[in-house]
């Protein structure tokens, strides 16, 4: 009998932490698939992209928690640094500084671009939030249109990719902490992730977000200014998105319209994997989900799977995850709800 309870406890523990278990399993599989998997270069790139995916996914997940969605997330990720570079170049021109040389090489002014990109990211998200709150339009259709708008705007502003040659930019996405294989951006990601997990769990911010996501009308009647908190959610989401876009630029050493390719899809898949829905799921799971998801992609790539099979598998993941979630909800309901 005791054995049985112990087994059940272990099974429960595993099912509660499926993303951690999945990450460990994928790490093991990866080690077998390719000998170079555990090389410090691959581990560093694993941690870098886990950070990028994680930041974008958290940005999406915060909005999912208040029952909104941002389909423009990938396009915004590309367009924020693009606007940053364009504005910085204009400022540089007026001050006589050489920021973009020959229209395809960024030679200085990285910090200025960081500041402008972050501001742009937060302002864009606030604008989306403002339209969403003031008109009551479904954020889904709103951001669907904006996705294509930002894509076009990006190509319009910089017809050619801009190579980043400013040494200062390497700190965020390329340089490691000391002589270890842990990149600086991973530390940033952990710090920001822990802060937002703490905010969600322990502060008014988190409670309001979950309350609005659960039942907005009820939240309003109990005196919560739902518009205000929704706007704050959009702004916070913009902060994470801005940092993610800068890490991406720093990692690829390029400001390009393709920087955000597939990110909208990845962010949504990760938040589905983490079980995020309106008023359900927690953001620490999103961080583990990003880790798990990147490992999966990394193994597919390193294992030499053709790109079209990768696409098919990637499409199956969210559908399978949603079906499993549905079934487990049903089992839960059958067990506890009479």
């Amino acid at each position: 009998m005791e054995n049985k309870t112990a087994l059940r406890n272990i099974a429960h523990l595993f099912s509660q932490n499926y993303l951690i278990v999945g990450s460990v399993l994928l790490l093991l599989i990866g080690t077998f698939v390719h000998s170079g998997f555990l090389s410090s270069t691959n581990l560093a790139s694993f941690l870098t992209f886990t950070s990028i995916y994680g930041l974008v996914a958290i940005s999406q997940a915060i909005l999912r928690l208040v029952d909104d969605i941002n389909l423009a997330i990938g396009s915004e990720m590309a367009v924020c640094p693009i606007i940053g570079v364009t504005v910085a170049d204009l400022i540089g021109d007026s001050l006589g500084m050489n920021i973009v040389s020959g229209s395809t090489r960024l030679v200085s002014g990285w910090l200025l671009i960081c500041v402008i990109s972050m501001v742009v990211s937060v302002v864009l998200n606030l604008l989306i939030g403002l339209i969403r709150v003031k008109t009551g339009i479904n954020s889904f259709i709103l951001t669907l249109g904006l996705m294509y708008f930002f894509d076009g705007l990006g190509t319009l502003l910089i017809p050619y990719d801009i190579q980043v040659r400013d040494k200062a930019s390497d700190w965020l996405g390329v340089t490691n902490v000391g002589s270890s294989f842990i990149p600086n951006c991973f530390v940033v990601f952990l710090a920001m992730g822990l802060i937002i997990v703490f905010l969600m769990a322990k502060t008014t911010f988190g409670k309001r977000i979950y309350a609005i996501g659960n039942n907005e009308k009820a939240a309003i009647y109990s005196g919560i200014n739902s518009d205000k908190w929704r706007l704050i959610a959009f702004a916070v989401s913009g902060v994470f998105l801005g940092v993610a876009s800068l890490v991406m630029v720093s990692r690829l050493r390029a400001v390009a319209t393709s920087n955000g390719n597939n990110m909208m899809f990845y962010a949504i898949v990760i938040s589905i994997l983490a079980g995020i829905g309106s008023n359900r799921g927690s953001l620490d799971k999103v961080m583990w989900g990003a880790c798990c998801f990147y490992l999966f992609i990394n193994i597919m790539k390193i294992g030499g799977l053709m790109s079209w099979y990768q696409n098919i598998v990637l499409g199956v993941i969210p559908i399978a995850a949603l079906i499993i979630q549905k079934l487990s909800d049903r089992r839960f309901a059958a067990k506890y709800v009479r």
Binding site: G145, L153, S307, W308, G315
Partner: protein, 334 residues
């Protein structure tokens, strides 16, 4: 009951007041405004050649709009329309190359389109997954299948196909392209389906309130399942049109048509959320949308702008229609 209500208006006046408040009338006014502004700003748009190309492009987006509009009317959404177009065009080209038979090609394409639609319906309606997230997944799967089938290469050796050539290149007396006539034909069939059959009535009530429809005895899941299938079959010919015109099909043939379709459907007065909209509205919407895009392009903003314009147009349209709806409610209350 109508006889009991007091109505002093004559038949013509009643008809006029009904027309005046309809979405299609508002849309025609918008179209007229665009045409008048165009006459001053970009007189170049008033050439037979330009109208020909506008009609052709409008029929691509229009078919996508009809499909997306119908799915929206039933209260669902399909993100995979672009991938369905790409996949079907590649299936068609490969089938033609293998069999050299137009009839077989059309039959296989329709069967494949129906299968893709049924897969969407299965996932969204039977498994009850969130429609956007699920069709985003299926879009990726279909695109993967299209790349798999074509080996990520462009296919060009289907030039002997009559269907590709007819839908892509033929025209009626060099004035109206065949694709536009085909689009209007599909619109008429769908219009009859929605207005004259019980299926159409059940579709509207399902979209307006699926639960109420279900309680009153309508099998709303079945309706929504079929809507996905019909939608996929309606967009499949877009692959023939674009492929026939460009004499090439590849995985990117249908890219972005889910957005164009949504923008046209919403512009045509289809309510995002279901239960409202008309085929006539979508048809006028398709031409209005394309003429507007054409006009903005002719002002010399360049091709990069097209995508940005389509995106911002969708947002602006939704905001304006939302505002009009709020005003109408206020007027109705007062």
């Amino acid at each position: 009951m109508d006889n009991l209500s007091i109505n002093n208006k004559s038949g013509a006046a009643r008809w006029w007041s009904r027309v005046r408040t309809s979405n299609e009338f508002v849309l025609l006014l918008i179209l007229a405004a665009i045409l008048i502004v165009g006459a001053f700003v970009t007189p170049r748009m008033y050439s037979a050649g330009n109208f020909y190309s506008v009609m052709r492009t409008a029929s691509y987006g229009g078919l996508a709009g009809l499909a997306e509009g119908m799915i929206l009317m039933a209260g669902k959404f399909d993100m995979s329309i672009g991938s369905i177009i790409s996949f079907c065009s590649i299936v068609a080209a490969e089938t033609y190359i293998a069999t050299q038979s137009d009839l077989l090609m059309v039959l296989v394409t329709i069967a494949v389109a129906a299968a893709l639609g049924a897969f969407n319906g299965l996932v969204v309606v039977k498994f009850q997954l969130p429609n956007f997230l699920a069709t985003l997944g299926t879009a990726t799967i279909f695109k993967g299948l299209a790349s798999l089938l074509s080996g990520d290469r462009a296919i060009t050796t289907f030039t002997g196909s009559w269907v590709f050539n007819f839908l892509g290149k033929s025209s009626f007396a060099d004035i109206i392209p065949a694709s536009a006539l085909f689009f209007l034909l599909v619109a008429v069939i769908l219009g009859l389906l929605l207005r004259k059959t019980s299926f159409g009535k059940m579709l509207y009530s399902t979209g307006a309130n699926p639960r109420a429809a279900w309680i009153s005895g309508i099998d709303s899941t079945k309706i929504q399942f079929w809507v996905y299938i019909i939608g996929a079959i309606v967009v499949a010919p877009v692959g023939f049109m674009i492929g026939g015109q460009a004499v090439e099909v590849n995985v990117n043939v249908g890219t972005g048509y889910e957005l164009t379709g949504t923008a046209i459907a919403v512009l045509g007065g289809v309510l995002f959320g279901g239960g409202k909209g008309s085929i006539l509205g979508v048809v006028i919407g398709a031409f209005t949308f394309q003429i507007l895009v054409n006009e903005l392009l002719l002002t010399g903003l360049g091709t990069y702008v097209e995508q940005a314009l389509k995106g911002i147009l969708l947002v602006v349209i939704v905001i304006i229609y939302n505002y009009i709806d709020i005003r109408r409610e206020q007027v109705a209350k007062a």
